[in-house]
């Protein structure tokens, strides 16, 4: 089970979700551009905000997805706490799976605050 709370730091609301069994990814926010000089040497230009991005994919009931929708509508512009980590919500997509009518799949993308 995972917990999202908001708004940070004066936490008011809390939502509990099942573990993100359908996807649990993290990446650092960074980029590398490589330039080759005429003498054959290589230089790199990096962008490194030292922050991470997280994407979690859940499968829940429709009622829980509606609850989450309402939660995100209220706090998507605020800092939230995802499992104790201060994050901004970046985007979310909710899909229903045709095989299992009572369940929906949704992905949440967060960025470190």
């Amino acid at each position: 089970m995972v917990v999202i709370e908001a708004p940070y730091p004066g936490l008011v609301s809390r939502i509990e979700l099942p573990a993100p069994d359908l996807g649990d990814e993290t990446n650092i926010i960074a980029s590398v551009n490589l330039h080759e000089m005429a003498d054959g040497s290589v230089r790199t230009i990096i962008r490194q905000p030292r922050k991470k991005q997280h994407r979690y994919t859940f499968k829940t009931t429709e009622a829980k997805a509606r609850e989450l929708n309402a939660f995100l509508a209220a706090y998507s512009d605020k800092i939230m706490l995802y499992q104790g980590r201060a994050v901004y919500s970046e985007q979310e997509s909710i899909e229903s799976s045709p095989e299992e009518r009572d369940f929906v799949t949704f992905s949440l993308k967060f960025r470190d605050a």
Partner: protein, 139 residues
């Protein structure tokens, strides 16, 4: 058809196949299992192409411009602590040459080119192991 580990078909692959792959930077080493799910090499040659007024097509490529070698490895079966260590490793070594000791026991220098690649679980998977892709520009 069953692929034999180490039988990549590349003519320049020499060395002893092994089950691990290491990245080292500044005395810190990350060890992955050998990339059995993905091991691709891309070679590109930089050229300048121009179509002239008289409709001739000219390609310029001086001999000192080396071909670019980019390798893409897909690692699976990663423990979560290895994934976390790898994210910290990228952060430390961003844009810097890292020493690669690959699964053919070759040691070479490369730069991690797509640091924003995700590390984690990408779908229903009972193994609870992580997957990631590492893209390296061969220097």
């Amino acid at each position: 058809m069953t692929c034999t580990f180490g039988d990549s078909g590349f003519t320049d692959v020499a060395g002893t196949p092994r089950n691990v792959f290491e990245l080292t930077y500044n005395g810190i080493t990350i060890t992955f299992p050998a990339p059995l799910l993905g091991d691709r090499e891309e070679k590109t040659v930089e050229t300048i192409k121009r179509e002239l007024v008289d409709r001739r097509f000219v390609v310029y490529k001086p001999p000192e411009w080396d071909e670019r070698r980019v390798v893409r490895y897909q690692f699976s079966d990663l423990e979560r602590k290895v994934s976390e260590a790898y994210l910290a490793f990228i952060d430390l070594s961003l844009g810097q040459p890292v020493t690669v000791t690959d699964h053919f026991s070759r040691t070479w220098t490369g730069i991690i080119m797509e640091p924003e690649a995700s590390v984690g679980r990408f779908g229903p998977d009972d193994s609870c192991k992580d997957t990631t892709e590492v893209v390296l520009r061969w220097l």
